[in-house]
Symmetry: C2
């Protein structure tokens, strides 16, 4: 989990869960936290499981504090409650849930939470989950086992800006001030990988606004290539795996590679200082922003995103000049309908459902604008362009506010 | 507080408080919150002061919820505690304090919280303060008195993306995972205006990372011009005024108007969809980003921001093409030293202090690069450019990490 770097194709797949209520939702009411939530009591409670917060508070009382004694310390033992972040270990001790209030600035022109905000929240809670696990041995997400082989090992998908990619975003209904629970957990993915799943749902209704899955593998920090997961690392992390999946996708979707013939191209994109994360890479959210900005404004005004799939190929450094390409899928609607009949892929379900609600069968929608766009972000060079990330976005037509709230709040 | 719109000059002034501990800091330990912080207990407690949360939870238990019954409801009565946001009414019932953990994505390439993050947090807490006051009659910050004259009245400085501007930002020491308290309150400002002051400090040490002040006046929503504050509105808000000031600035700093001869100019800046707030204005954070991006990278790499002053002139709509101009103040260092001796203005104190620490007297620094930049953001038109915002930034040379942490953590 050290750096967000890829040298061979790695699919990060995300699709929709539809509108059903999450059956695995646990009720926060069942988790009792006793004591008065003041600073002193927090310390007493936390000190039963770890000594992190205790150290810092004791030192404050003496009027001094050093860098080593702040909240930056990584716990060496598992934590169960993070009062400050309103986080809890759930799912029998291996999942993580955090309560968050959507902030005013996380809401965009559409008066609803932006995709970027949701991406950021998924990333933040994923990091907090790992932080509480007690597995970390440095600030960037490497476990003790990974650090042992420090010069060779690192996880492919990073925790710092990067992180999980959401899929279904009900942009219109997740608003500033909404209280949500974000839940995140690990799962197995083949012999050398693991999954990170996340979902964001209304605390009041349990309605799932967005869910995401991502695949992580290990990489050699020196060669920046994928590497096998050593037994020691697997033994460390596998007790945290659970079978629950945020998104079920039986048949992985292929994302074709675009070239200079793509219909829409934005060139000469230059990362700004503020686009870099703490590892001097262009952050994941900026990738997504560049990709979405290539889709015509006219389309964006009348449609809303219901799914996004990203396949990372290579790191994007802050000195790269970037080109963003985009092509509408002419067979987007037809595919959507046929796949739905064949495999009931949740990735397609939502697009189809919205078509039906508008009174069009899957084949009756063929004369409409495409509901899928293929995307590519690549470095722009005189010699040879190199792929950074391939993407696919799935869209549905915007509903009026009233229609949408009826639809999403009836469970 | 309706829209972030200006037709005549309005100064929003921000400067540094230096490194002293805030004498007004209250200890969170003194505020006892009893009961188990589960959803049901929250409702019981809150229902003593307001009926907002209660309504929504009751409805959830029936399995239904409508848009009208979620957390979006604006309280009609004053609230004292917001458990979800970890917010409290303080300062004898008129100030607001919220505990926040700095998130991973709020940290930039310098591994410290970005100016944008701090701007966003000040804006969010200002909004939450107003929300808890029970003064609001709509979601955009207008009080009941303002709404009475709805077609004519609105506050000049808005609460939604916009908000307060910070001044001193100790970027290098406010890191991801740091637990901070943000405090915000109102003050009087002339006959027709009011101040919004804010500060962000370490919960553990009380060290103030940044503080801000901003001036708000009322505007006519139709003509978009400033208007007098009616007695009814003053009577509503003046009980919330307190005399404490986050920043003391006796002599307002003049910001000269730049023209096309400015040393650095970025032209053809086009707001993207994601740059707009819910009022379809380009948000305040984007203004600041455009302004700072005009300052040469080489300077930004070796310096860090210690103060920023913004004077808003006019709204920036999402269809505007924008030009950002920037000019180093050749007399920046000299001014800094002399003003320090004359008026002890906190705006200058920090720049000067860093000079002295590096072993240079104020006059010994004259051969160095300027430590102030004047900025201008204007609409770019064929006919006449129009000012959007004037700015002044104050900088100090970056210290090494070690030096900085010694300096900032010793109180």
């Amino acid at each position: 989990m050290a750096t967000f770097s890829y040298t061979i194709p790695l699919p990060i797949r995300c699709s929709t869960t539809g509108h059903k209520q999450d059956p695995n939702k646990q009720n926060l009411n069942k988790i009792k936290i006793t004591g008065t939530p003041t600073r002193s009591v927090k310390v007493d409670t936390l000190s039963q499981t770890a000594g992190v917060a205790k150290t810092s508070v004791a030192l404050v009382e003496n009027g001094h504090i050093s860098n080593e004694q702040t909240r930056q310390n990584i716990p060496t033992k598992k934590q169960f409650v993070d009062y400050h972040r309103q986080g809890l270990i759930v799912e029998g001790g291996v999942g993580y849930r955090q309560t968050v209030v959507i902030r005013s600035y996380e809401v965009g022109a559409g008066k609803s939470a932006t995709l970027e905000s949701i991406l950021n929240l998924f990333q933040e809670t994923a990091l907090n989950h790992v932080w509480m696990s007690g597995l970390l041995s440095n600030g960037f997400g490497a476990t003790h086992g990974m650090m042992k082989e420090q010069s060779h090992m690192g996880c492919l998908k990073n925790a710092s800006p990067g992180g999980s990619i959401p899929n279904l975003v009900d942009e219109r209904v997740l608003q500033g001030g909404d209280i949500v629970e974000i839940e995140t957990w690990f799962g197995a993915s083949g012999k050398n990988g693991m999954r990170r799943d996340s979902l964001i749902r209304s605390q009041a209704t349990g309605h799932v606004f967005a869910s995401a899955t991502s695949t992580w593998v290990m990489m050699n920090e020196k060669t920046r290539r994928l590497s096998k997961m050593p037994e020691e690392v697997r033994a460390e992390i596998s007790p945290w795996f659970i079978e629950k999946q945020a998104i079920h996708e039986d048949v992985p979707e292929k994302i074709s590679k675009l070239d200079s013939n793509a219909k829409y191209v934005n060139s000469n994109l230059k990362p700004k200082r503020s686009d870099s994360d703490m590892n001097q890479h262009v952050n994941n959210v900026k990738h997504v922003r560049w990709m979405l900005e290539t889709i015509p404004d006219q389309f964006l005004e009348s449609h809303q995103l219901s799914g996004i799939i990203l396949e990372y190929r290579r790191e994007c450094g802050s000195s790269n000049i970037v080109q963003s390409l985009c092509e509408p899928d002419e067979d987007g609607i037809l595919n959507s309908g046929l796949k739905q009949n064949n495999d009931m892929s949740p990735l397609n379900r939502f697009s189809l459902a919205s078509e039906i609600m508008e009174g069009n069968g899957p084949l009756g929608s063929l004369d409409k604008v495409p509901l899928r766009y293929t995307l590519l972000l690549q470095t722009q060079r005189y010699t040879q362009n190199e792929e950074i990330v391939r993407g696919k976005t799935i869209w549905k037509k915007k509903q009026s506010n009233n229609e949408l709230s009826n639809m999403t709040f009836s469970i």
